[in-house]
């Protein structure tokens, strides 16, 4: 046993300087009358360095999308309690007045959503939706905005851009629409892009194209990227730092290489085992993680993963485990970690 640790370690706390986005102890609770509160995000801390790509991985309901929506102030007010702090470049986003926050959204931080079919307004042309953002944030009007919109569409690989400006979303394919969404996110050269499952609604080949496009654009413009996904394969190709979330908490946090080469949390190894791989012999069955997460205060009695974990021991149920470093950059929330020789 290591020395008892009382509180969670913070990923990246060791590093120097202020990160671009600094989330500390973020809690989001949804309450509705007549039902138990749902703690969707339960003490998440993470940093996004300027120019880096951070992956947040977890299955449905793990709180990864809610984390980003809360940070952007997009959750609405009724029935939502948010605590903790979210700082972007030193500015406190959680307590920022709505109109200032609106100036940050799109200009400094932009988002890309999962479903390009429904994330574009069906009654406005693609060009109108692009120029609207340019007018809002850069003051470009008329032809200047239109020219910039053409440049943007070309930069995301849409040919014949000037004519595409006049098309409506329903006339474009899914991949095209997601390219348009990326163009809209890039419109004002934000410093941070949050992509929430950007390829989930697309098929395999398209998804690879879109990810490659994102990777190139982000690298060229030195934009930071937060990539939210349930797909470890997506993270593997793109992210510098990966946070694995379960039931509202980070369970493992590590740079990409150690996470894939030496995962310590049984949930992470479970996720890896459930992904099909080409480098394994054929016929080996995939190993799904049994069950699904529960949402009734899962961390209050012990480790929330325990009911679905193959390594559960008595200590798992004695109280919630803390996020502890196994080495300075690699944090794990588990009392019975997967050891080197077991993998």
């Amino acid at each position: 046993m290591t020395a008892p640790v009382v509180s969670d370690a913070v990923p990246g706390e060791m590093r120097q300087g202020t990160p671009l986005l600094r989330v500390r102890d973020l809690h989001v609770t949804f309450s509705s009358r007549g039902r138990a509160d749902v703690r969707a995000v339960d003490g998440v801390s993470l940093d996004v360095e300027a120019g880096s790509t951070v992956g947040i991985v977890g299955e449905s309901g793990s709180g990864k999308s809610v984390t980003s929506l809360a940070a952007m102030g997009l959750l609405g007010r009724r029935g939502v309690q948010i605590s903790g702090s979210v700082e972007f470049d030193g500015q406190d986003l959680l307590n920022m007045p709505e109109d200032e926050l609106r100036a940050v959204r799109g200009r400094e931080i932009a988002m890309i959503f999962q479903d390009p079919m429904s994330s574009l307004n069906p009654v406005l042309t693609v060009g109108r939706q692009l120029t609207e953002i340019l007018e809002r944030h850069t003051g470009r009007k008329g032809d200047a905005a239109k020219d910039k919109a053409v440049d943007l569409l070309e930069s995301v690989g849409i040919g014949d851009a000037r004519r595409r400006l006049r098309t409506f979303p329903h006339q474009l394919s899914g991949g095209m629409r997601q390219r348009v969404m990326i163009a809209m996110a890039l419109a004002c050269e934000p410093r941070l892009i949050i992509a929430d499952e950007p390829t989930t609604a697309l098929d395999g080949t398209l998804s690879a194209q879109i990810l490659e496009l994102l990777r190139v654009l982000v690298a060229e413009s030195r934009t930071s990227l937060v990539l939210i996904t349930h797909d470890l394969g997506v993270v593997a190709g793109l992210c510098d730092q990966v946070h694995v979330m379960y039931s509202g908490r980070i369970v493992e946090s590590a740079p990409r290489r150690p996470l894939f080469a030496a995962p310590r949390h049984p949930y992470t190894t479970g996720l890896l085992a459930s992904v099909p791989r080409l480098d394994q012999p054929r016929g080996i069955p995939l190993l799904p993680i049994p069950g699904s997460p529960s949402d009734t205060l899962p961390w209050s009695k012990g480790c929330a993963v325990a009911p679905r974990c193959s390594r559960t021991i008595d200590a798992c149920l004695q109280g919630p485990p803390v996020l502890a470093p196994v080495d300075p950059a690699h944090l794990v929330r588990c009392v019975n970690q997967v050891e080197e020789d077991e993998r």
Binding site: L74, A110, M117, S118, V123
Partner: protein
């Protein structure tokens, strides 16, 4: 599929923007493909044409009386001079039906525009602001909804006197809550949509999201309701006239009143009841058919 059709499809795929125009044009194209809509539009076209060109089309004035063949209890049926016969006062039935179209159309359009204008404004305010504004407006609308339209019409007629204006106001007031509720519900649903969230995440201002993104997307059910409300307005106008709440001038050829006046001669002259009844049914059916076809044409699920 012939070779030509195949080629047409391929060109459409290759140049989507040439094949398809805006959303409205899409809807119109889908509308023109539906036989129901065609039948409905033909009926409406005839109705509007007759109403507009009534003085040209009608063989006689609707108030001219021809007493030559009129005996008590006997009504000259259709003849070469009077295609639909004469009514109980010796007026040409066809001319009265033709002029009646004007009143139906006038009442329908005016009451619908007034009702829709007020209803849409209320719905827009409620849907845009939400919260307590929404609650106040919607309770107001609920109260309006609770009053039976007939009672309301009688009240308004009592207040303003019997006139076409009273009828139009009554029908308009009945339409207000329908439009308000419809638009508000539609807007609340659209506010939760992904594109509204996406627009918010990119810093688009609230008023812009409501007016440019949410409102236009919420209009489809309102447009459909508008067509259907025209049909209902014609029925209601006829109903009110039938009950004697329409214009006090007995020479005004309202279809509902014509129907009411034939009540006592139903046994001897059933045809006189048939003509205005048929006119009401056909015009109402036209708007209903188009409304139903519009509902399908504007269905976002079919848009993809």
């Amino acid at each position: 599929m012939s070779i030509n059709q195949l080629e047409a499809v391929e060109t459409a795929v290759a140049h989507p923007e040439e094949a398809a125009g805006g959303l409205a044009r899409d809807a119109v194209r889908r509308l023109l493909r539906s036989p129901t809509a065609i039948v409905g539009m033909v009926l409406i076209a005839i109705f509007v044409f007759v109403a507009v060109f009534a003085p040209v089309l009608a063989p006689y004035s609707p108030t001219d009386i021809d007493l030559t063949d009129l005996r008590p209890g006997v009504f000259p049926g259709p003849s070469a001079e009077h295609l639909l016969g004469l009514d109980q006062l010796g007026r040409d039935e066809l001319s009265r039906i033709i002029y009646g179209a004007r009143y139906s159309l006038l009442i329908g359009i005016v009451s619908l525009s007034m009702g829709a204008l007020v209803g849409i404004s209320l719905g827009l305010v409620a849907g845009a602001f939400g919260g307590w504004v929404d609650s106040v407006v919607m309770r107001l609308v609920d109260i309006m909804l609770a009053i039976p339209s007939l009672l309301l019409a009688i009240g308004i007629a009592a207040l303003l006197g019997r006139s076409l204006t009273s009828v139009m106001i009554a029908i308009a007031v009945v339409n207000v809550p329908i439009f308000a509720r419809l638009l508000r519900g539609s807007m609340l649903a659209q506010r939760q949509s992904d594109y509204a969230l996406a627009a918010r995440s990119l810093g688009v201002t609230r008023s812009r999201i409501v007016l440019r993104h949410v409102f236009p997307n919420s209009l489809a059910p309102v447009i459909v309701q508008g067509t259907l409300a025209l049909a209902t307005a014609i029925i209601e106008a006829a109903g009110l006239a039938y009950l004697g709440l329409g214009s006090p001038d007995p020479s005004v050829p309202e279809w509902g009143r014509m129907l009411a006046e034939t009540n006592s001669f139903l046994a001897s002259a059933p045809l006189l009841a048939l003509w205005p009844g048929l006119a009401i049914v056909l015009s109402v059916m036209g708007f209903y058919l188009v409304g139903e076809a519009l509902r399908e044409a504007l269905d976002p699920k079919l848009r993809r």
